[in-house]
Amino acid sequence: MISFQHVTKIYPRNTIAVDDVCFDVEEKEFVSVVGKSGAGKTTLLKLLLAEEKPTQGEIFFQGKSINEIKPGNLPEFRREIGAVFQDYKLLPSKTTHENVAYALEVIGASDQEIARDVPKVLEIVGLTEKANNFPEELSGGEKQRAAIARALIHRPEVILADEPTGNLDPYHSLGIIRLLLKIQEMGTTLILATHNREIINSLGKRVVTLEDGRVIRDERRGRFIL
């Protein structure tokens, strides 16, 4: 489904963020990308979301090269991906309900669909009571659950989660990971970037380990070893 082929990303001043990375992700797979801070995890996800362009190599999504997507077609491509970020990236001027509904609005869903689906998803992530609250009125865990709700509401093919537990305590972290696992079990491909050892070791799923931008390990049932 997703294929990284000899992908290199070099930032100005010759800073190599990702160096000749090659790996594939199958449909409905749960892949964790692990590494220390600065190992290139976030850059890898940014490249997949076409937020950055690779300096060398190609990334394929469902057989199509992301590099060749024209700027005008980027919104359409991104609607096939749900993204969860460490800093939540919720729209501060919109309520929880409006934030989640926004992902449906951009794909042109009808008002009826929005009225039907948003409360359901908010219920799944346990935010029914906070539907009319603005992001600044939510706790870290609630913000992340709202971000997950927004990422999955339009049923994307794949969800990218970049350090989703980075700002959360262990209790809330566990809740978020359980939620992501549930989403993957329902049939969504999931790529999780993290440096949380306990979480990776408890998952028992595929782990791709990065160091200095290079893939140093790719195991089917991996553990956090650095």
Partner: protein, 302 residues
């Protein structure tokens, strides 16, 4: 399409009221610019009105010697009327001049007593000449100097008022030139200030625009609400400006009229109301929309 438009308008409307502080700042800056545009329009219109009223008062009066025959004066009048620069020539007989004077000063016993003391009609017959254009009086006076009828003329009033008239004309053309220059400079400053204020307001939303982009929103879906906010700010600023100007004109009009009797500013305001409304709304909305469009463009390149 219609659903997207509805969502864009709703989002812009919500954003305008939720970002209250920024919206007020934008409206205030737009208000200053619209006020400037309206002031320039009013100043231009009113100064023209004032200038033309002064220009209308400029004329040449030819006073004829007492022995001049009325038929010769009529002949001279016809000759003058044939000159292209002359708009109108009016004959005022000795009797008419006396009657006008008596009518005008009938309540002034000193003047009336002096007139009675003279014992005869002291007024001279005259021709009053008005030129088609203010700058054409010189050409008319040149003609008078070469005419066969010059011998009949006792005095030409234009020569006595010449310096004043020429000063008025030079002043009005200077005012017009300065006005155009000032308008261009002030308009540029106002546009730049407005653009920068809106750019700063949108700069605050750059992270939000980035998020919308990453969620898969198209350029117009992101930009649309900002344009709607620009339109709302423009409309609100134009309304406030219209109301303020109406109140100012209404309260100042009687006072201005005591200084310049020919200048009815409230009449001018009412006559040009649609044009003023158009200037205010077009300035406000266009500035709001164009500034929002340009300011969002740079953050949509993700």
């Amino acid at each position: 399409m219609f659903t997207s438009l509805k969502r864009v308008i709703r989002s812009g409307w919500q954003g305008f009221f939720r970002d209250g502080g920024l919206s007020i700042a934008t409206v205030f800056i737009l208000l200053l610019t619209i006020t400037l545009a309206t002031s320039l329009f009013l100043f231009h219109g009113l100064s023209h009105l004032l200038i033309s009223s002064v220009e209308e008062k400029a004329d040449i009066s030819l006073y004829f010697k007492e022995e001049a025959l009325e038929n010769d004066i009529f002949e001279f009048r016809e000759e003058l009327a044939r000159i292209s620069e002359v708009k109108e020539v009016k004959y005022i007989s000795q009797e008419k001049a006396l009657a006008d004077f008596t009518e005008k000063h009938k309540d002034n016993p000193v003047l009336m007593a002096s007139l009675a003391e003279v014992g005869r009609n002291p007024f001279l017959a005259s021709l009053n000449i008005i030129a088609s254009e203010p700058g054409q009086y010189q050409a008319i006076t040149d003609f008078l100097e070469t005419s066969d009828f010059t011998a009949l003329i006792e005095k030409v009033d234009y020569y006595q008022r010449r310096s004043v008239i020429e000063r008025i004309f030079s002043l009005t053309s200077t005012i017009n030139r300065s006005f155009i220059f000032l308008s261009i400079i002030l308009s540029l400053v106002a546009i730049l200030v407005t653009f920068n204020t809106i750019r700063l307001a949108i700069y605050n939303s750059r992270e939000e625009i980035k998020i919308q982009r990453l969620v898969g929103a198209g350029s117009w879906f992101i930009r649309g609400p900002f344009l709607v906010q620009g339109v709302l700010a423009g409309i609100l600023a134009a309304l406030i400006c219209l109301l303020t100007f109406s109140l100012i004109i209404w309260s100042l009009s009687p006072r201005v009229e005591t200084f310049f009797t020919d200048l009815d500013i409230s009449q001018f305001f009412v006559t040009n109301l649609w044009q003023i409304i158009l200037i205010q709304f077009v300035t406000g909305i266009l500035l709001g929309v164009i500034s929002s469009f340009l300011a969002t463009r740079r953050y949509l390149k993700i």
